[in-house]
Symmetry: C2
Subunit: 135 residues, 2 copies
DNA sequence: CCCATCTACAACCATTTGGTTGTACGTTAG
DNA sequence: CTAACGTACAACCAAATGGTTGTAGATGGG
């Protein structure tokens, strides 16, 4: 289910996404560009590092799909791509929903336990913990 | 503007968070543990790498605050920490909200433009580029 | 035309990362 | 007690990262 259509790529795609977000300079570049597209050289002027270093950061953001570059005369304007942020959020949602599902299951079990009718329901498979009652 | 209370640390904290999420194995560990806590050795059995490697991945997740370890006899149970996922989402929200603010501003300008000019011109819309003269 | 600017890219270096193996230590089972 | 299991940690290695400098190609202004 869940439309795994491109499940293959999504692993590497998500890798690149989060990797790009895992650097303070790159997040700052995103914040600046989200307020209005900027040329690479103007961006570079804002950081205590070389032009080439900033250029590399922009490349990482670009390969992650977080920004796009557009030529304008001799400058290259960098702009953020809002869809990518949404994809990242979606990846987090997946984790969070899994957690929520687990909580739901647990509270369901708890409610049932309270009622005492313990049927053959117990999914020992999940826990994989054979250690129910050692000790 | 909700100035992030603890903006100092949050940079490194967010770094660690996204870095931990930028690896398919670690994301898989999270998915497994969110369904129920698992011992490190049981986790290790699920991947085509050594125990020590998985141990390192768990350490990365732990330092990012994404999981906690709890000793149980001679095993160490790993469980996900849902708050961390929310922190990551919050960091994304920050970016997305900035983008939304910009869109609001733009649609305001567009509404004004609609009645004014129809030419191939782009009015001096790049106000941002001129204001940032820090040189 | 000439020059200054902006960009692209290669080569290089230090550090980190992700993986391995090996060893040591605490805990539980027989 | 001893053996087996689960963990922790150090040492080591190849590859990727994040940074530097240097060189070269386009583009626009005077």
């Amino acid at each position: 289910m869940v439309v795994d259509g491109m499940a293959d790529e999504s692993a590497e795609t998500v890798d690149r996404l989060f990797h790009a977000l895992a650097d303070a300079t790159r997040r700052d570049i995103l914040r600046r560009c989200v307020r209005g597209e900027l040329s690479v050289s103007r961006l570079a002027a804002a950081y205590p590092m070389s032009f080439a270093a900033v250029q590399k950061h922009v490349t990482v953001l670009e390969r992650a799909g977080l920004v796009t570059k557009e030529r304008r005369g001799r400058e290259q304007l960098v702009r953020t791509e809002p869809d990518a942020v949404r994809r990242a959020r979606q990846a987090l949602d997946e984790l969070e929903s899994a957690w929520r599902a687990r909580v739901d299951r647990m509270s369901g079990l708890l409610a049932r336990d309270a009622g005492a009718t313990t049927g053959p329901v117990t999914p020992a498979r999940d826990g994989t913990t054979t250690e129910g009652t050692d000790r």
